[in-house]
Symmetry: D2
């Protein structure tokens, strides 16, 4: 019999019962649910809504239930619908009458909102730690590859030479903003719905500030209808996760490219590669393909909660039950892709020989040559045009820019002098960078130091 069954004269059909139950997945919230119940019971006793004996019986019962759950000796029953009713009913089985007082001045509406907020708060803390772990791995990879120059790309065409360290720190920057978004979201999450009851609050003399404080919330939410109706915090969390997922999909793409035979820049160790059931020579960078692919489900999860909440009137609607699975999936996926990307970056080496051999192609020094002309007083746009012609000449002769003779260069424009060769070639080009945030050696060194300190490496 359902705990809400007073006015009902028929049993719920099996199909509806199994369609409506949520305990199969919301039992994941058990820790938060128990913590919330403890805080609530203590408050009820303090406010005279429950005796101290009842409170103690409840606290003891909850401790027992927690122990049973964690030891695998708790039977979750789908006829008891959800984690809340499972706990309350089990507590009643265990301690009898006092358990029936626990739901005083409380509804599943505020209870689930409380549980989910607590769960998200914790999830964010864990994800932030994993972001930091990945940042550390990337900075470590940068430290291990000092001085390595790689082609920088735009449009996947070679653009300018950059330090590998510079590229790796770009990822670190992106992850830093990802952590920032999670932290901002955490601030907005950390308010207590508990005591909002069904939607309107209660006439019983409860103290919402007391439970809020006990559960580590900043304060109670100000409006009970809002407290049980809205899932904006959850959408925000899943949006932040989606951005992380997109960032990692980009690393995934880049590393898959770099691990290809054609690029040949990155060598994943056998420990993070997999083979083919048919082609014996294959060694595939599967983890990073999956990291890229898993962005899809995280985005799908976000889409789910947005569609879910669209057009619902206040206050609680049962649709909202569907918020949990995408939340759990998103958080678990992001946790895993962060970990796997970390592990992958700890298991790669860069193929300096292939990289070095590649630098001669693509005229990566063309922009530096334009800077040379600017230094000679030629307006940039004119410089760009002159260098364009020099590149066309180099292509037609199938040589690098630095292999054009001074005569050839001067045939394009007489401004060229012998010192142009100090700007040509990738080695020279990369040395020239000096602007803040650029790939110049000292700039990158400074940035690296910034991150080492911030991440407490060194």
């Amino acid at each position: 019999v359902k705990l809400w069954g007073g006015r009902f004269q028929q049993r719920t059909t099996n199909a509806v019962e199994s369609f409506s139950e949520s305990v199969s997945y919301d039992k994941k919230l058990y820790k938060e649910d128990l913590a919330g119940s403890c805080a609530h019971a203590v408050m009820l006793a303090k406010q005279g809504l429950m005796s101290e004996e009842d409170r103690d019986a409840i606290l003891k019962g909850i401790a027992e239930i927690e122990a049973r759950i964690e030891s695998g000796n708790f039977t979750w029953r789908s006829d008891r619908e959800d984690v809340h009713m499972n706990v309350e009913a089990a507590l009643t089985d265990l301690i009898g009458e006092p358990a029936k007082k626990l739901h005083t001045a409380r509804s599943r509406n505020d209870q689930v909102a409380t549980d989910v907020r607590l769960w998200c708060r914790n999830a964010i803390d864990n994800l932030v730690k994993k972001i930091i772990a990945l940042q550390i791995a990337l900075v470590q990879l940068a430290l291990d590859n000092e001085g390595l120059v790689v082609p920088g790309y735009t449009h996947l065409q070679r653009a300018q030479p950059i330090l590998l360290q510079h590229l790796l720190l770009a990822y670190v920057e992106q992850l830093e903003r990802d952590a920032g978004r999670l932290k901002d979201c955490r601030c907005r999450i950390n308010f207590s719905p508990l005591g909002s009851c069904a939607l309107a609050g209660t006439g019983l003399p409860i103290d919402r500030f007391m439970t809020a404080e006990a559960l580590g919330f900043t304060a109670p939410l100000r409006n009970s209808v809002d407290a049980v109706s809205d899932r904006d915090f959850l959408i925000e969390f899943l949006a932040a996760n989606s951005i992380i997922a997109v960032h990692l999909s980009r690393i995934g793409e880049e590393w898959v490219l770099w691990a290809s035979e054609e690029f040949g820049f990155l060598i994943p160790s056998d420990a993070v590669s997999t083979g083919s059931s048919i082609m014996p020579q294959k060694k595939n960078p599967d983890p990073m393909e999956l990291v890229r692919g898993k962005s899809a489900r995280v985005i799908g999860d976000l889409m789910t909660v947005l569609v879910l909440c669209k057009g619902l009137p206040q206050a609680y609607n049962r649709d909202l039950q569907e918020d949990k699975e995408p939340l759990f999936d998103s958080v678990e996926t992001i946790g895993t892709v962060l970990e796997v990307t970390t592990e992958f970056s700890q298991n790669v080496t860069f193929n300096r020989k292939r990289i070095s051999a590649s630098l001669s192609a693509g005229h990566l020094d063309a922009t530096t040559m334009a800077d040379y002309l600017v230094n000679k007083g030629i307006p940039f746009r004119t410089s760009h045009d002159i260098v364009g012609k020099a590149v066309a000449l180099a292509i037609s002769k199938d040589v690098e820019l630095s292999k054009l003779t001074l005569e050839e260069l001067r045939s394009i424009n007489p401004v060229f002098e012998d010192d142009v060769y100090e700007y040509l070639g990738v080695e020279n080009a990369v040395k020239r960078f000096q602007s803040y945030g650029s790939t110049g050696a000292s700039c990158v060194k400074e940035q690296l130091q910034y991150w080492c300190e911030k991440l407490k490496l060194v």
Copy 2:
């Protein structure tokens, strides 16, 4: 040790192994995987690529594996990655050497594409059956409610009176197109990738037409690269499901509205309602709220596969492994919401008293009054304007149109005569409809008959 491990010198790390494994969910494909292997073995033997003894050993082994799986005596091992490798390795454990010949002229790339297509084909057949069951339930509900007039709405404002049957048949029409989309999709799915191997086909003398026929496919796919690369059929399937989900979300919304105190038109039985943990009087139409809400995840699943496939080069990429969970989730969800909507519609009654009482409000006969004027030779646009004024008058006097006196009507326009009252009132209004597809009694009767025959009711 992995079956593809020949060239590898390090073991995959645990994190990567558990990240990459798919057997935890793709074991759902076991039946299709076994069927594919049987067809493949028979073909290999026929083509002289395997002895008849080996073939028989394999067929017997596969039968044994199937029996074990279905009796719960099969151990799925995540170190064996996926359903394919689990089966092959278990077969090797079971029958030894012959099993090692099964993967001749086959790759997991064509194998999984084959399994998934078979699975989808079957899933579509099941969903079509469930659509028909829901259509039958709706038609039955229509049959049970002959003659019941309800307000028809646009903009959720009362518009014109319609027969409830007419509204229910609108749902049935929508479901019919849903089934049509699934069937079209099935036709495109039903081609065999088997024998496309990794991506290029094989140099061994296999017969793809033979395996295609054995598995009930229309024909083999024409291009091996296409066969292993593309998941368009799966996206199409999930798109068709999304449209079903949207259709059902609309029924969900409508029935939730109708079950509200304010509408009061629909009474769900206690067997398909649920209560509140705090508010003793509540009886909520939860199943239809969840039906509405579950559209979100189905749309999310579609989004996942679209994002997944975006921007992947040919041929197989590991990202594609992520196609299965959204597929399974979408199909399971659609199956369930169809069933629950069927069950719900078998457990509702319409509150004729409330409905009937409601019909007097909202001037549902206004358009019929305009038709009256058109019949009198007044251009429609002018008629519309005249009736607009009559409505304004009726509102100001707080009466129905039919309660305006002829004098009052003639004060607006002298064209009104006594016979106008034959067009006023909901009863008269609903009787007037006669156009094909309209809510006119004989039109609806004809449609109902069409559906009864088509669905083999009566």
Copy 3:
């Protein structure tokens, strides 16, 4: 001829040119583009990369271009591709040689990132103002409707009586978090990419802190590759907009419901309603339907940028050009729906008669009756059960709870005494609420005062 055409020997085809151009929409960024160029020119001159005469010529030319654009006398040319090239080329037409120096140490990659960040910053400031305007309108509506009790809903079933003010303040709370998200996003946006050039920075002695300060940025971005590659800030912005859109879709849904004949709670004025081309009596709450519907495109825009960025390697890729139209559409849509919701809420009245008449149905006082029993020492769960039975009795007799006789109540449980009637009836029920954040009169008054002060109403 393109400004980048030095090495090219063929003209771009018309189809590619019109496919690639972005000026038709990115001209919207002209103000930001001009501001960025001014700051850049001043810096170049300060750093000795341009003479003061050239700088002055450029600043004068830019002022002239701005004047022409704003007076409609500027010809945007799609063969000049984008806003940046249009401006630079027009400047060259206007002032000749000095214009060719403007692109020194700058690329369109950092330029567009700068323009877009400036534009977003401004857009956020505008949206926040519009959010505040809507909050004010809602609070004003609350002030105008003091004491009005309405049914509160869960599952669209009547739940408990609440003050209309309480409901309106729930919206205000949601909007407040919306503004908070936008502000957090603004903080992350407000860093300068300018001087990151193509992707690697530059070898010329520029001062990025100077341009950052001139443009009101907090600081330059730390990493040039990151600066030109990432659009996370834009996704975050569109995610924040999507949450606003969902919030407003919920108000839209609620008000469309309330404006229906069945609810009859809300009367939009004719000024914010529209009619039907065929049904003369119709008066539809179209603006709120559209507010609800427009959430779809805002979510679609978010989806677009997520899909766009998925799987792109560093650094700039041309795909990113597609970020602007969804950005513009999202911002414009959110701006409009905020305004229209504000205007709508200034043009509605609540139908006190209909609302009041409705309160008797739905047993809104059942939970208060349970609280009564709790006060009598009955455990809540038992109280819930007792009240459930009372409700069933009331339904069977088709009366309100308050109309059950004491005898009838005592037949369910002897605990009932005469004072129960002080808890029954909506008037009594609503008076009982007292918890923080509840719908109790003094709680709501306090909240209303909080908002009046915060929004500088009074």
Copy 4:
């Protein structure tokens, strides 16, 4: 004054009017709207609901309006809301009274559904033509590159050698299914809503079969509520477009990769490439990046209509007005990306030298070596393992498999004999393929012939 204004006493506010108007974009439907009105007028006259004179005046007036629109001499007025009201009001301005009869037995609800279906039908026909044009371009490209062997990839790792023709035909296959989906969708679209009026049909004696036939529809839709409520056909269309977009994004990705310096396989002509404003040497394959990127908006458009329709009750709701912009955007985008991909493929050459040089790396013949062993009677799984070891040996010696000595091979397994060299090397490997649908020369030739005939090439 609005044409529906009879009962209204206030003018719509400017903000609401400009928020609600749709003529700024739905004027795109003018041709369909006029055609629908002509068919409707002819039918009304035939049914005696309008005189022949009125009909003729209307037809003449409509012809005049069409001429004005097409010559740019028609003023679209946003105070007239939408294309329908603009046309009707302009017709009234033009011909007076008869125009007022046109809206007899018609509503904007069925009118817009009719217009949109007609528009979609035409749009599909155009898109199918563009798909065929792209297929032809790809087949032509295949014909121009007979015999060219390229590496085939899985996981972006080199897998097996394939004919370029084979890869190009894979795209052609995918496009063929895309066309099939559009055609199926067209069948479901091609039913007439006209005469469904607001939602309930009409009491006037219209002939819906007549208008359906006149407009080229298969038949009238069977249910008037369904006819004005549902947009499933439009979602299906946008889903089909999304799959096309994903297909083209994959070609885009592949060609961007192939055009990179690292691959170096594909050379786009200057006519379909663009340069950099700062880096003079750059030549970017922008069109294909944009083709890839534009998949995002097409997916976003689909998402928009799904979210839009979710949870709307029957029948017409104003939200549905928002279906048009995503529809138009999706269709226009798909049209353009098909055209541009066609043009791009007509402007590329393959770098045979780079491709040929690349074939020696990646052990593309490893699977053929395994086939060799299978032919020797070694079970495939064992063969795979042996070849895996051979590959490891080749890697350790930094040679191709074909450069391993027989002795070295036999040290791994004595089964190797001299004839193994007939299977090694890419040339040998590619010759071996023979299965249906494989990359074997004769198989591909046959497929090519199939497509030449189907596409009427040669």
